[in-house]
């Protein structure tokens, strides 16, 4: 596959561009478009690694991927969106401006930060994808880096999706002051309520005692 795309793997895992690389990539993108557009290797690897089902919505706009005529799929794109898609397809190197309508924010960020060439390399070793992305990146700000979200098969753009214990500990740290105030308010409310009820009981006993004593008189 590497040869087909014009890359030769180096010992350190990176790839060296062969003279016909761009031509081969062009062929891959445009002549064999359906095969090159979707990246089922990543989806299968992520699901297998975490033992948790995922779908194309991890990186794509549509949960069923880019092929079709539904929202976020190629069959429904207007000319302006097609132009954005083609620009994304040409983002061979990292750092290009990418805003593909068939990808979600995370998918676009992957193309932007890695470039299409690196992504195509990673297709051959999809388990290495989490290691390839910025370990500090946390697009949904849920306290779990995107790389870990990929390993856990949780969504990097959904802050309510993540390993429950990791989310819990992160959110406890984030909301410590609110939790402290809630604890104080609950304790104070209970104390006040208990005092009120005991006061009612004492008043009732006193009133009843007075009635009893007046009866005796």
């Amino acid at each position: 596959m590497n040869r087909l795309l014009g890359f030769r793997a180096r010992a350190d895992g990176s790839a060296r561009r062969a003279p016909f690389a761009f031509a081969a990539l062009g062929v891959a993108f445009f002549a064999f478009a359906p095969a090159a557009r979707a990246y089922p290797e990543f989806q299968a690897q992520i699901a297998k690694g975490a033992g948790r089902p995922v779908n194309c919505a991890l990186c794509h706009a549509n949960p069923d991927g880019p092929d079709g005529a539904s929202y976020g799929q190629i069959g429904r794109l207007n000319p302006e969106e097609m132009e954005r898609l083609n620009r994304a397809r040409k983002a061979i190197e990292p750092g290009a401006e990418v805003n593909s309508p068939i990808l979600n924010e995370f998918g676009n960020e992957l193309v932007r930060s890695l470039g299409m060439r690196r992504l195509l390399e990673l297709k051959l070793n999809p388990a290495a994808l989490p290691d390839a992305i910025d370990p500090k990146s946390d697009m949904d700000r849920d306290g779990i880096p995107d790389a870990e979200e990929l390993r856990d098969a949780t969504h990097p753009l959904k802050k309510e999706d993540g390993r429950p214990w990791r989310l819990f500990t992160h959110n406890v740290r984030k909301n410590l002051w609110t939790i402290f105030l809630a604890a104080v308010a609950t304790a104070a409310g209970l104390y006040g309520l208990a005092q009120l009820l005991q006061g009612f009981a004492r008043a009732a006993r006193a009133a009843h005692g007075e009635e009893d004593s007046s009866d005796r008189e």
Binding site: V54, A57, P63, D64, K159, E160, I179, A194, A204
Partner: protein
Amino acid sequence: MSLVSVVKRAVEYVAERFPVEKLNYHAMVEKKEVPVHRLSWGYYLGGAALFFLCVQIVTGLMLLFYYQPTVSDAHASVEFISEHVHGGALIRNMHAWGSSMMIACVIAHLLTAFAMKAFEKPREITWVTGVGLLFLTFGFGFTGYLLPWHQIAVNATKIGLQSIEQVGQYLPGQMAQWPRAIRETIQGEATVGQATLSRFYAIHVIVLPFALAGLLGIHLLAVQLHGMSRGVDEPARRREKFFPIFIIKDFSVWGVAFFVLFVLALCLPFESFYSYPLFEAYDPNGSTPDGIKPEWYFYFVYYPLELLPFGVILVASGLAAVLLLLAPWIFRGTSRKTLRILAFAGAAYFLGMTLFGERIYHFFKGGAP
């Protein structure tokens, strides 16, 4: 037996179960006491269930302000609540966690009441209304599950409604058509769609709350009139005043329950226990994601259904429902020790199926858990 004597006996029966002459300050406040023994903690479970019901009512009302019960807008409105309404995610999460906690409390309350023989005469109606409330609570869970209109909601509801229709094959003659009629009535159209959502919404926010209010009113009135059951065979170590001691303790349990619920709702999204494709908007033309199953509190029926023939589960469920409803008469002469063992077995089965049901399923059917 003449009609007059039947009516007279019925009136006597009801009067014994609802001694309304006790509805006075002296009996309800001054004199009322609660026995203290090793199972006293069970007395607080009913109150905890009531607290979570209050939470559900308050948070449910808040969600109603924004929720749109249409197939095109339901999921979007729920996302809008979570993403754009101030405090919306917290309220929605409280509603989700609250429903689970309420069901857990109701089940624990039922098991402890059974173990304490709290259905003894004259508390039969308290028990029967309690079992009715359990079924209503499951009804709330089933109907509420569909409302967000995401993948797991719609697909799990389809499976649930199909199960109703399957009952027909075990019924004789014309009765075989009844489950289909019931399913079509609930579903409202050929498949789960707008009519189903509208009906589930109406059942969830109108029908069930009214039914619950009626049954709960009877249940609470009976509980207050009779007071707490003795709970154990041996004499109670001591007795404490219902007002204010027990009430203060009960409210303390409410306070702790509120705090736990608040922290959970704030810090642990309910959805994090499931894979994200299950919470995407339902698309009738899209693929069905893996992992469709009902809420955890239905696992005790769901996994056996996956493992055993439908007829076996149907008969077992029917027997269990009859046993529950008629417990005051079936177990009239049973000792509390035997009841405790039965309640423990019931709790072990429920917990086992809830926690390990999937593993048990894969153990028998193969495949990775």
